[in-house]
Amino acid sequence: MKRPWRWWIWALAATGGAALALAIGPAGFGWPSRDTALWLARRDRVWAGFVVGAGLSTAGALMQALLRNPLADPYVLGVSGGAALGAAGAIVLGLTAAWALPAAAFLGGALTLLLVYALAAPRGHAPSLYTLLLSGVIVSSIFGALLMMLISLAPSAGLRGITWWMLGSLQVPSAALLHAATLLVGSAVLAAWTLAPEWNALTLGADVAHHVGVRARATVAFGLALATLAASASVALAGLIGFVGLVVPHAIRLLVGADHRRLLPASALGGGLLLTLCDALARSVNAPAEIPVGVVTALLGGPFFLVLLRRRRGWTP
């Protein structure tokens, strides 16, 4: 079944969502006047929501295509475990510079992917997808154990930081970090979109891809690197926000089909939209206290996805 791809609907929805999120906050409903502190705070937060949402969903869509596994998400290859471990390490070591924690998270995520890939690849050969998934899962659980060990060793103030960081938050600690994450996620999303025909070929299997002229091994490796870049940059900015990377690509696939030329931009916009709207609720419903945005994404996004799934049965990668 071919569904019409109306890109302007997506652009319109994203703009409308951003406008709505700008008008919602603990300070009350209504647009803040331009260039006030409130305007800056809300604008950067909506901006962060779109960057992180786009980064996580793009990473998820890529991982699902490359690993040909519906349960793949940015975290399955240990990127999450590695990033969390990096951040926890920075907290336990007492590195307090604004850059230390996100940089450690980014390094942790990226190094973990390299480790998982090296472990899964027999000398000089491409790793099989199953070996890659398995070593990712095992490395994740080892890192999870190390993280729990760090938490039990951490001083109580640091502990608070780690646990909250693991729940995720779109508070922007510094404009410089927001700009850096935007640049990294933006490049990864654009590069992934440009290579959409390659991912389309890969979802049919490495053999088919080879016959249509796609160098499977290099393409998979490059795709994983792009996904890790998008996911690690998002995690570095916002901590661990679950659910978006796993479910948004599935929901978008049900809406626009599996062609990555549509799936990738629509996932980026849809993920950004979902996260931004959920965050507007997270900072408003219990004001002035915030609730973790990951809780809202799962509570709102989960049922929405199940409804979609029931209406359009079947899953196609």
Binding site: A27, A41, D44, R45, R283
Partner: protein, 300 residues
Amino acid sequence: MKTTPRSRAGKAARLAAIVAAAMPAAGCGSASERAAAAAPERIVSLAPSLTEILCAIGAGDRLVGRSSACDFPPEIVARVPVAGDFGRPSLERLLALRPTLVLSVDLEDKTLPESLQRIGVRLEIVPCRTLDDVPRAIRRVGALAGRPEAAEALAAAMERGIAERRAEVADGAAPTVYVELWHDPILTVGATSYISEVIRLAGGRNLGDVVMREYFEPSPEWVLQADPDIVLCPGMGEAHDVIRRMAERPGWSGLRALRAGRVIAEVPADLLLRPGPRLLEAVDALSAALRRAGRGNDSP
């Protein structure tokens, strides 16, 4: 199998637990009471505030174990071994210290009192969370540790000090204070926290008092809207670092407190956050810092 001293202690503890469980509980309790009357208590404190109280009333020599969070006074930290974490003892380490009395503010494991009772160790929970709890806790610890006179003197002096400072605090003109205990995501204190009471007694008003919780994660734009007179950041580094870090957040560089440099970072976190015998010291240190912050710059 190689037997290490640790695992031997573990076996002994389990054996003791089994034996104690088999004995009638009443006889066990009266035996420990008789022992307590005869010899000075061997005390383990599982809370930093209670450890400070014990030392302040001169019962520090009876302390045979502390929690890993007990870091004051320093000479106690150097001498007394650790029996576990704050409110979460390691049962084996605790038993190895052969305590006759265990003191705590709260316990994480709610089945612990029963386990301790079975093996004949007396456990006392001493509430010490609010300003008014502190003199009560001092008297209670004094009675339990056999130093009632010293405790009474300290508690009475503290009650006088609190009453005097309450009388001094002027109505109305209190500057609003935004407390930040953690930066990513930001964490502040609500109306039921001890530090909120300390701020009030020092002549300020805690911005987070609108929320009836001990701690909560506020929305940054709420702080921006409230635009507090003073920012209080215990244990977050030097004031100029705090100002630089906060000004990087979107919209925060316009906050009056940051622009005028009214950021208090020099009062230590353990002093401000711990309801204990250094309460008046904490109030006076904060009160002086609030006055310093209010002077010199545009007045709050």
